[in-house]
Symmetry: C2
Subunit: 193 residues, 2 copies
């Protein structure tokens, strides 16, 4: 591993944990100030890249020389509709009811800025929920898991009981497409392993 100092422009504990799981040690968390308005005119994947790029550029002036800025953004899309983080439990209930028994798509963008160059892109993963009962949705909300997550669920937690099938990168749904990240870092001359 020959990674530089990495500045993660994200408040998400899950993204930090995934990087730590990969053995990234020289990691600084520097969330962007505020959030750019979501560009609703773009397709979801492109919109996620724009949001991630705004986060990365916001943080870039604060990053130490020689470091690599990493930003991401995750968007959940159901039949053309984008689901953000639920504002309250009733919105979480509405989102999970909409996802029940259906396929939706999760897009996570990656933006990497460094002295050696920059990379950006997104990955898409299809997620298939089994049909949920109202009781299951209520009890899931009562665990607190849905509240800080786009689409009101976390694939790495109890919502694993709801997900019959995925097509794509699982970690893309958690919030950071790890295989794509490794490839992009490789293109910049860095090795994750």
């Amino acid at each position: 591993m020959n990674l530089p100092h990495i500045v993660l422009a994200s408040r998400s504990p899950r993204r930090r944990e995934l990087l730590e799981m990969l053995g990234v040690r020289d990691l600084e968390i520097l969330p962007a100030r505020g959030e750019a308005p979501f560009p609703t005119e773009l397709p979801p994947g492109e919109a996620a890249v724009e949001v991630a790029r705004a986060k990365a550029l916001d943080v870039l002036p604060l990053a130490p020389a020689g470091s690599l800025v990493l930003a991401s953004d995750t968007v959940v899309a159901l039949e053309g509709r984008v689901l953000g983080k639920p504002r309250d439990e009733e919105e979480a209930f509405a989102m999970l009811s909409a996802l029940s028994g259906r396929r939706h798509t999760v897009y996570s963008a990656l933006v990497l800025l460094s002295d050696k160059g920059e990379r950006c892109g997104f990955e898409a993963t299809d997620v298939f929920f089994r049909p949920l009962t109202e009781g299951e949705i209520r009890r899931y909300i009562a665990t607190g898991e849905p509240m800080d997550k786009a689409g009101a669920y976390g694939a790495q937690g109890r919502a694993s009981l709801f997900i019959e099938r995925m097509e794509g990168d699982f970690f893309n749904v958690v919030g950071l497409p790890l295989c794509a990240l490794g490839k992009m870092l490789g293109e910049l001359g860095y090795e994750m392993i």
Copy 2:
């Protein structure tokens, strides 16, 4: 959650961790003594069910009254060939070289024995590895991750950098198909959530 006392007939720390992540508290680990010979004459999914059933039946006489015995077995199959746990680093190297740039299938069986009835079955997940360099394989082996795992990789660890895509349940590849487990428990009258 109205689960009974669960006896997990497995030594796998990952299966235990997944159950704990789901909030299972009343859990006892009771690995089967020895391992039944792998029934090579059966298709991989059926073979995994047979092995899991043997583990469950081995442990059943030791399980407290009213408990539920849960056993599983995970099989990695590449073009009709079954890959077990590597015996040494050279075998891990051969397995990972064979998986490189190809699709393979992971089968995990579930066997549940309880007073309320029994259930068994398996799930299959297709896993697509990107092409790996010899250096990547050697460095991955040096992390120690491959050595106790069927197919010589762990999808929840650094091999996430190798997996471009999955089709099916991610946790099935980790070693326990959680969505299927929830459904089977539901059929026996138990709620995981």
